[in-house]
């Protein structure tokens, strides 16, 4: 430290005091201020995090839940199982590259996979709106069956409810899944440490942009399909090859949300190189038009892995051998400081913070 820097540390400037105050405010326990649920509570960003922690974790508190991973690790008669659940309310129900059915199977399989488990059994709950065409339901169940067969899981139990016309959006699906953890793992945010490499398994944002375009609200057409896929084989290949410290699938809220969750929970910084992040030009173009940042756009077949830095190249090599991992890349690294923040080194040559999303990614107006 130079003399000037020491002086700065002893007497922080007003700006620095303000920044410290903000960091303290950020670290405070989340509190819900709204009296009603808003759409922001479902967008996957800060509001969702607050709702989950202030309402659900507060009510259900237990060690398996509190890690807030994609699935919970539970002991069953001495065997280690992973248990997870997820609801699907996508609109439209059918979109280029998939439908709510394969999404519901792949999503839950992926939640199990990124916990290191071998997916085994799924349940499927359907909430159907009065008047929903049986033909559409058959189409959805057919793609669920096909996705389950591809993922090597069985759908062994289920439930059906029908609600009045107007009380639902056609069809909602909830799937739960169990898998067995049959390998020794040190997966978990707490194993993340400075020097680790951050890897993304393929081009990001394709599912989110596909859905936005498929809704037909924008007069945009693009030759783009959802990336929905079961990634359990890809994950297994990675876990077999290198010491992995953290795995999470980058769904709602995108890669940026995952990175923020990791940086906050691990108490480290994550520094991302914008130019290294794989994004297809067509996704980039749509994001430019809509004023969105691809880092926040949902994927349904991509994961973020944090691996020991010395194994970064091996990890990418292993991933690229699998068709679902062809676009894998090291996008950044874990640093000690500034703890809890995700920084982006922009292609332009600047640096900025990548924070949690506040609400829905609202398009800018001018």
């Amino acid at each position: 430290m130079t003399a000037e820097q020491t002086a700065v540390a002893a007497h922080p400037s007003r700006e620095e005091q303000v920044l410290l105050r903000i960091e303290k405010a950020r670290a405070r326990k989340p509190k819900i201020r709204e009296e009603r649920v808003t759409l922001a509570h479902g967008a996957g960003g800060k509001a969702t995090q607050t709702l989950v922690e202030a309402v659900f974790v507060d009510a259900f508190r237990n060690p398996a839940l509190e890690s807030l991973d994609d699935g919970a690790l539970v002991d069953v008669n001495g065997g280690r199982m992973v248990f997870t659940t997820d609801s699907y309310v996508v609109s439209p129900l059918f979109f280029p590259g998939g439908d709510i059915g394969d999404l519901a199977v792949n999503g839950t399989v992926n939640d199990l996979a990124v916990c290191g488990a071998r997916p085994l059994y799924l349940s499927a709950g359907f909430i159907l709106e009065e008047g929903f065409p049986i033909a559409d339901l058959r189409r959805i169940t057919a793609s669920m069956a096909a996705a389950a067969a591809r993922a090597g899981v069985q759908i062994v139990t289920g439930d059906t409810k029908v609600v009045q016309r107007g009380s639902g959006d056609g069809c909602y699906v909830t799937t739960s899944g169990v898998g067995v953890l049959d390998r020794e793992l040190t997966l978990g945010v707490l194993s993340v440490r400075p020097g680790d490499a951050v890897i993304v398994s393929g081009p990001i944002g394709e599912h989110g942009i596909t859905i936005m375009i498929a809704r037909g609200e924008l007069d945009i057409e693009a030759d783009l399909t959802s990336d929905t896929a079961a990634i359990h084989e890809l994950v297994a290949a990675l876990l077999d090859a290198v010491p992995v410290h953290m795995l999470r699938d980058a769904t709602r809220g995108g890669v940026a949300t995952v990175l923020n969750e990791v940086a906050q929970a691990a108490g480290t910084a994550i520094v991302v190189e914008e130019s290294a992040v794989p994004v297809r030009p067509i996704v980039n173009g749509a994001c430019e038009l809509l004023g969105l940042d691809p880092l926040y756009v949902a994927c349904e077949g991509r994961f973020v892995a944090v691996v020991d830095g010395s194994y970064a190249d091996t990890a990418v090599e292993v991933l690229r051998r699998h068709p679902l991992g062809e676009g894998a890349a090291v996008v950044g690294r874990v640093e000690a400081d500034p703890a809890g923040l995700v920084l982006l080194k922009t292609t332009f040559g600047g640096t900025r913070i990548v924070d949690m999303l506040v609400g829905d990614p609202l398009p800018r107006i001018c």
Binding site: Q5, V8, R14, E15, E16, V18, L19, R21, I22, A25, R33, E34, R36, V37, T38, L39, A40, K46, A47, T50, E217, L218, A269, V271, P281, N284, G285, E288, D293, E335, D337, P338, L341, L343, L344, K345, T346, T347, F348, G349, G350, T351, R352, I353, D355, V358, G359, D360, L362, P363, R364, I365, C366
Partner: protein
């Protein structure tokens, strides 16, 4: 991506940055205001300030449309939106802007039918498919968005649609800049001019800024190299002792603007005698309302709005931030009581607002960067 990557070239940025450093007189400080929120967004999104020498400070101006909307107008809009027959349509940015009694998002959660649209024409589409409902479009923005609102009204009239109207909050940029120049505490050396507004109004209306106030203005594009080049052009003028209006954004901005767009605005809308701006107070002839001839499409004429003025919260210093007197972090409530999740002032709402941009992207100061090993 073609036509984008060219304007984000790090090598060119480095060259421009060193030319900018050379143009700075030793010991002299330069403060420039980027008027438009789009520029603020670009500056933070790309980390552009990393290229600027200590001597150059950028101040974020009032050109973020949702940031200048007073709370009373938001309450008026919500009073319309809560009527059972109404479908309120709005740009996404507007959804979280707090009025005196919550935001559109809160009103929506409480049962109001409020829908996000990308264009006023989408609102017209909703009106066509819901003939038994009254569709209202929340018109906000500067001369950039006013022509599309006006066009939509003309189209609605041509189609004979009777269930569509506009709640007009469009504002004009020149009176706002003039208010800032007349404010006794401003210490600006020049302006980065709003590129998108200028595609409509052209560069001529800014000439008084150079002529009467002796400050240079450069109309700038929205890519990071555009902004760096504009800063270079401003410094060049100051070094030469000139104060002129220059156009950096020639690929889009014609000197005389877009006559057709201006005609459409003035066909449908006229200047209000005065309008309240959040933080800046009442500014005369600074906003647009619907002309009498289009009263059928004027939500203010069709619905009873409370029209109650709501004072800005006492703790909120958005006005000082908009005028460039305070940096976002100098506001008393910045980052603690006022955050993007719980905005008190509108500068914290839109990603283009000076405070939200600083909170989301810029909080990490240059000095803190240098202390870590990142640079």
């Amino acid at each position: 991506m073609r036509f984008v990557d060219e304007y984000r070239d790090a090598e060119k940025a480095k060259r421009l940055a060193s030319q900018i450093r050379e143009l700075c007189e030793p010991g002299r400080k330069y403060t420039f205001m980027e008027v438009c929120g789009g520029h603020t967004h670009t500056i933070y999104k790309h980390g552009l300030e990393d290229y600027l020498p200590e001597a150059v400070t950028l101040v974020h101006g009032p050109g973020c449309p949702v940031c200048v909307i007073p709370m009373g107008r938001v309450d008026d809009a919500m009073a319309i939106a809560r009527r059972p027959e109404v479908i309120m349509t709005s740009f996404g940015d507007m959804m979280r802007v707090p009025g005196g009694k919550g935001s559109f998002l809160d009103a929506k959660a409480a049962g109001a039918d409020i829908r996000m649209v990308y264009s006023p024409l989408d609102a017209l589409k909703i009106a066509r498919t819901n003939p038994d409902r009254m569709v209202v479009f929340m018109g906000i923005g500067f001369e950039t968005t006013a022509p599309s609102t006006a066009m939509t009204v003309l189209r609605a009239a041509a189609e004979g649609l009777t269930n569509f109207s506009v709640f007009c909050n469009h504002v004009t940029i020149i009176p706002a800049i003039k208010a800032i120049l007349d404010s006794p505490d401003q210490r600006l050396d020049g302006f980065i001019g709003p590129g998108h507004v200028s595609t409509v109004i052209g560069c001529r209306p800014y000439e008084f800024i150079a002529g009467t106030y002796g400050k240079p203005l450069v109309c700038a594009g929205f890519e990071p190299l555009d902004i760096l080049q504009s800063i270079h052009m401003l410094l060049r003028q100051l070094a030469d002792g000139r104060a002129e209006v220059e156009n950096q954004y020639t690929r889009v901005v014609p000197w005389d603007g877009n006559r057709r767009a201006l005609e459409v605005i003035s066909q449908v809308m006229e200047l209000r005698p005065y309008f309240e701006w959040r933080g800046l107070g009442f500014i005369s002839r600074s906003a647009l309302r619907m002309r009498e001839a289009y009263a059928a499409y004027d939500a203010e004429a069709r619905f009873d709005v409370p029209g109650v003025r709501v004072a800005d919260p006492l703790a909120c210093q958005c006005g000082e931030v908009l005028k460039g007197v305070l940096k976002p972090w100098e506001c008393k409530v910045f980052g603690t009581a006022c955050t993007p999740e719980t905005p008190i002032g509108t500068c914290m709402v839109s990603s283009e607002g000076a405070c939200a941009a600083y909170y989301n992207f810029g909080r990490f100061t240059r000095r803190r960067l240098e202390e870590t090993s990142l640079t």
